[in-house]
């Protein structure tokens, strides 16, 4: 068979909604795109633990501390599911970790913003996890089997993240004037970066929609972003708060909310590494990795010693 025949069979499977599995033939570019996207997604889950980890020791009650701890632990699990999915494509865990630690690999820019107050835990859960969920629900149907299965698992856990965030804000929104102000401030700071999570505008790119054709993605950035805006506008009314966008208004014709222009200069600055916390995040990951080295080595040494003992017993 010629390579074109393989490609035809491959695209045929995609078109008829048959999942691609690790040992199936796939175009190199499909493999590469998936490795890049899945590993970046994994890195985002892992780095995403940092802004929230920042508040675990300062959560206002034992209940909130337990919830936040559980959420951050979930994110570690998400990172693991995704790294495992990427590994099925032939990239090693250590290679991916090295790409993250050296700054060669990217992760979601949203985690390069600081979490300044307790209300940020609410805004992050509601808006940041909320935005991520829309992407992840779509990815439950992505064409690469292991990625899709990881997403199904992740989506089951995510809805708690968004709900606990909204609840934090709900409590603050009914609190003292200071608490209300803190709630509004967090929403103001997280709104625009959350919209940026969906990436550049569809018109920004003149390249072909290969990811769509391969059904890695099924919705465009703008479609997902619009879905997010429509969802949040409804929910913020419950909080009695406002979104920091004067251009936000219902468009009868489109049957969607119109919203203002994103600051694309800020978007690209953060992507290129000049966000408020890019350096801090990478430093924290490198520190954790270096300080954990002795644990990894000790565990391996112990395992080897044990298996040698077992061998001797058998002999």
């Amino acid at each position: 068979m010629q390579i074109q025949d393989f490609e035809k069979i491959f695209q045929g499977k995609i078109d008829t909604e048959i999942k691609i599995e690790p040992k199936d033939w796939m175009p190199d570019a499909y493999r590469k795109t998936n490795v890049r996207q899945i590993s970046q997604h994994a890195h985002s889950e892992v780095v995403g633990m940092l802004p929230e980890g920042n508040w675990i020791s300062r959560a206002p009650s034992l209940k909130r501390k337990a919830i936040l701890l559980a959420k951050v632990q979930d994110e570690a699990g998400h990172g693991l599911y995704l790294y495992s999915a990427a590994e099925t494509l032939g990239v090693s865990r250590d290679e991916m970790i090295e790409q993250l630690l050296t700054g060669k690999a990217k992760y979601s820019s949203i985690f390069n913003y600081p979490t300044l107050t307790w209300a940020d835990m609410g805004a992050v859960g509601w808006l940041v996890d909320g935005a991520a969920i829309l992407n992840q629900v779509m990815l439950c149907r992505t064409s690469y089997g292991p990625y899709a299965r990881a997403m199904v698992r992740i989506c089951k856990e995510e809805s708690f993240h968004q709900r606990q965030g909204f609840e934090i804000l709900l409590v603050l929104s009914k609190g003292t004037p200071e608490q209300k102000a803190m709630c509004q401030d967090a929403i103001n700071r997280w709104w625009w970066p959350s919209l940026m999570m969906f990436g550049p505008k569809d018109t920004e790119s003149t390249n072909s929609d290969q990811s769509m054709k391969w059904k890695i993605k099924r919705k465009t950035n703008d479609e997902l972003r619009q879905q997010f805006v429509d969802m949040v506008v409804g929910q913020i009314k419950v909080l009695g708060m406002t979104l920091p966008d004067a251009d936000l208004k219902w468009n009868e014709e489109r049957n969607h909310y119109d919203f203002g222009e994103i600051d694309w200069n800020e978007f690209w600055a953060v992507v290129k590494g000049n966000g408020p916390c890019n350096k801090e995040r990478l430093d924290a990951r490198n520190k954790a990795h270096a300080e954990g080295a002795w644990v990894r080595e000790a565990a391996m040494a112990y395992a080897e010693k044990k298996s040698k003992k077992l061998e001797r017993k058998v002999a």
Binding site: Q40, G77, D94, A105, S205, N207, M300
Partner: protein, 119 residues
Amino acid sequence: MNNLIIKQYYGDYGEIETGAASTTSAETGWPLWEVFIRSKQGLDHKHAGSLHAADAQMAIENARDVYTRRMEGVSIWVVESKHITASNPDEAGELYEPAIDKVYRHPTFYDLPDEVGHM
């Protein structure tokens, strides 16, 4: 082919330098394990995912931490991934085709009068 996929989608933040990264797998060498979980007494163990661990004991403990935080399981199996032999999808034709022309293996092959009732 590569220049077709530069379009930046949500969750795809553009090209990273691959290839340049030297694998450091020698650093830890924790092997990969496949995890199988019985979700409920009476059901089969089902593949849940995989993870790295130094030994079987640690693999079980890690599996408990990542795959059963919400009571998803009552029993865990782990096996080092290298011990799993998988069939080759390219040979699926030879492997499964012989079954296609043996329709008489299915109950619907037999045309019985209605009077027989449910059988």
